[in-house]
Symmetry: C2
Subunit: 344 residues, 2 copies
DNA sequence: CAAACACTGGACAACGTTGTCTTTTGGGGT
DNA sequence: ACCCCAAAAGACAACGTTGTCCAGTGTTTG
C-alpha cells in the first residue's frame, strides 16, 4: 500500500513548481506545450491522482450526493437508485448511499454520516416519525424527500399520489362489479401504505360500501406471510371477490396464494410491478409507480439546486425561482393485464 | 445554505482553544467536566459537525469503501450491496458505489473516480477485458474482485465455482434421465456465463453426449428475448426435454415461455433464484448462488486488510498472513423444487 | 531596435483538522 | 506556606490542494 504521489512529487520530477502541475491537471490556464508534456509524463510515471480531500477542503465543497433509502434490496429502491446514479455520474457527482432498515434511529444516524461527509445534497426516503431534526441540516445542504411526503414545510418532495391512485385502482375493481374487496399489505409504519389504505377507504365510502376490518390485512412482516393471510380469507365462506395488494412484496404473496389455490376467479390488482407478474394467468394488473421516474425527478431537483448555488456564488443577490422547494407528483397509471378485470 | 461551523467558531463561543474542542469531540484525552460541558453546549448551539475532508486530509486516510458493480438494478447485486453496506455501517465505513453498465470503459472511469475519492478499499465486479490497468491502483488500496475471477495474480477474489456448480446442475438433469438439454443465457461478454457454459459442456462430454449448437442460446440481450428463444426451440420437432437457464434474467424468460406454452413436461433449472420461482408449477429448481454470502465475504476481506493496515502502522515489520490476497469460493448448492426433477 | 505586452511560471497563504510540544493550572505533600 | 508534579489547555506546524499576486520570459509592434 504505497502512498499516492502528490503535486510536490510530480513537480519535482518534472522540474516545475506545484502550481504549474496544478494548472496542467486542471487545464484552466494555458501552459507551454513542452512544459505541459513534461508534467504529463511525470503524472503518468508517478500515477498521480489528485487528492479530493485536499481539493474539496480548499474549494469548500465536494462532489458527492447522498442517497438514503429503506434498503437497496427492495427492487423499487434499486431501480430508483440506479436512475440517480446514472444521472449523477453524467454530472460528475459521486453517490454515497445508506439504508435505514426502516428504523428512525438508523435514519438519523445515516443523515448525520452524510452531513459529516459534507454531501452536496441528500435524497432521502424518510421512515415514519418526526423529521423536525432535519431542519438544521437543511441549512447546510438541500434535501429532497422521495416516495413519501413529510409534514414539514420547506423540503423538496418527489412522490406518487398514493391515495389518489389507490382510489382509482379500487374504483377500477368496483367498475368491474366487485363489492367485496380485500386490502392486503397495510402497515402503519409506512406513510405510503397508510395513504393507500386511506384511498381504499375513500373509494369504498364513495360507493357506499362499509370497510370490513377482517379484509384489511397486514402485508409481509417478520411474522406474517401475505400468502397465509390470503389463504385464510379464501378459506371462509364469505370471501372477497377481489384483492388489492398495497406493495409488490405483498403482491408476490397474494399471487402465490391465488396461484397455489388455483383461484383465477379472484380479481387482483398489485401496487407496483414484479417480475413474472405478466407471466401468471391471468397476468397481473398493476399500478405502475415508476421508480426510475421518481429517481430522475429527485436527482434533477438536486442538480437544479447545485446549479443555483453556483449561480449565487457569482451573484449572491440573484433571484432563482427554481431553487425554491417544490413538491413533484410523478405520474402513475394502471396497467390492465387481466387479473384486475376478472368479474366477480 | 449556511456554511457549517468550524472548530474555531465553536472554540470562540466556548472560550477555549480549538485544540480543546478537538479533544472534546474526539474524546481522546480527559477534559475537565465544566470545560467539557461548555464546549458541548457550543457544539450543540452551532450545530457543529466535523469536516471529514479536513480530518481525512490530516489523517492521511478516509473511511470510505467503493463498490463497483454491473448495475444496482440487478437483484443479485442489490442483495450483495445490501450485505456490504450493512457490515460497512457497523464498522463505521461509508459506501460509495458506481455501476459499469457492462462496459470496460465505464468500469475504468469508475475505478478512477474511486481512486480520486481516496477509497480505503474497492470491491469490484469486473467486466470482461484486460484488467492490467488495475495494477497501479492496487498499490494504493486493496481491491477485492467479486463474482468473476480475473486472470491477474495478486487480487482477492470472492466468487462462486460457476463451472463446477453448473456441471452439477447438468449432472442433476442427466441423473433424471435427460439427454437433450438446452443452455439458455450464454453471453460471451460475461466470464461467469462463459464458465457456466464450460461446465455444461464438461458435463455433457462426461456423459458422452454431443453439444448441439442450436440448443446453446444467448440470454436476454438488447435484441434477443430469452422467452422467444425457448418458444423457438419448442416449436421444432426435435426438442430439448430440459432447459438450463444460465442467469436469473434468462430464467424469467424461460419460465415465461414454458408457462405460456403450458409445457410443464420440460425440466428446468435456473442459475439463481427469482421472485415467484417457488410459485410456478412446478416450482423452479435453482442453483442457489447466495449474493449476501458473497457480499459478506468481500467486505470481510476488506475489513481484514484495513485491520492489517492499522497494525502495520504501529509495527511496519509485522508479518500479517491474513493480509495476503486470497481466493474465496463461496459455497453453492442446488435447491430442488420440482422443475428440475421432471422426467423426460 | 526598443518598448510594451501578453503569457507563462513561481512563492505564499489559506481551507479545517490533528499531532507534537510547550505552557499553565490545580492539588497534594512536606 | 512552598514546591513539585500531574493533568489540562494552548500555540504552532502540517496534511495537499487552489487562489492571489508577483516575477520572469519571449513575442509583437511602434
Amino acid at each position: 500500500m504505497t502512498k499516492p504521489a502528490t503535486l510536490h512529487e510530480v513537480a519535482a520530477l518534472a522540474g516545475v513548481s506545484i502550481k504549474t502541475v496544478s494548472r496542467v491537471v486542471n487545464g484552466t490556464t494555458t501552459v507551454r506545450p513542452d512544459v505541459r508534456d513534461r508534467v504529463l509524463a511525470a503524472v503518468a510515471e508517478l500515477q498521480y491522482v489528485p487528492n479530493s480531500f485536499a481539493r474539496s477542503l480548499k474549494m469548500g465543497s465536494g462532489d458527492t450526493v447522498g442517497v438514503i433509502i429503506d434498503t437497496i434490496a427492495d427492487p423499487f429502491f434499486a431501480s430508483l437508485t440506479h436512475a440517480v446514479e446514472a444521472r449523477a455520474l453524467a454530472a460528475g457527482l459521486n453517490v454515497i448511499f445508506g439504508s435505514t432498515g426502516f428504523t428512525p434511529e438508523r435514519e438519523r444516524r445515516q443523515v448525520e454520516r452524510m452531513a459529516m461527509q459534507r454531501v452536496e445534497a441528500l435524497i432521502l426516503a424518510p421512515v415514519s416519525g418526526s423529521h423536525a431534526y432535519l431542519e438544521p441540516y437543511r441549512r447546510s445542504f438541500p434535501i429532497v424527500l422521495i416516495d413519501r411526503s413529510i409534514e414539514i414545510e420547506g423540503f423538496d418532495v418527489v412522490a406518487v399520489d398514493d391515495r389518489g391512485i389507490t382510489r382509482r385502482a379500487i374504483d377500477h375493481l368496483l367498475a368491474h362489479g366487485h363489492r367485496k374487496i380485500a386490502f392486503v399489505g397495510s402497515d402503519a409504519r409506512f406513510p405510503t401504505t397508510v395513504e393507500r389504505l386511506v384511498g381504499y377507504e375513500e373509494s369504498l365510502a364513495a360507493a357506499g360500501i362499509a370497510v370490513r376490518p377482517e379484509w384489511v390485512r397486514p402485508g409481509p412482516t417478520v411474522d406474517v406471510d401475505a400468502a397465509d393471510v390470503v389463504a385464510e380469507m379464501l378459506a371462509e365462506d364469505d370471501q372477497p371477490t377481489a384483492i388489492f395488494a398495497a406493495n409488490p412484496r405483498a403482491a408476490v404473496g397474494v399471487a402465490h396464494a391465488l396461484h397455489t389455490a388455483e383461484r383465477a376467479d379472484v380479481a387482483f390488482i398489485s401496487f407496483g410491478d414484479f417480475p413474472l407478474a405478466k407471466t401468471l394467468r391471468p397476468a397481473v394488473t398493476y399500478v405502475n409507480q415508476d421508480p426510475e421516474a421518481i429517481g430522475v425527478a429527485a436527482i434533477e431537483r438536486v442538480l437544479t439546486h447545485l446549479e443555483a448555488k453556483k449561480l449565487r456564488r457569482k451573484d449572491p443577490t440573484a433571484e432563482i425561482p427554481e431553487d425554491e422547494p417544490r413538491t413533484i407528483i410523478v405520474d402513475t397509471d394502471i396497467v390492465e393485464r387481466g387479473s384486475g378485470e376478472v368479474a366477480p
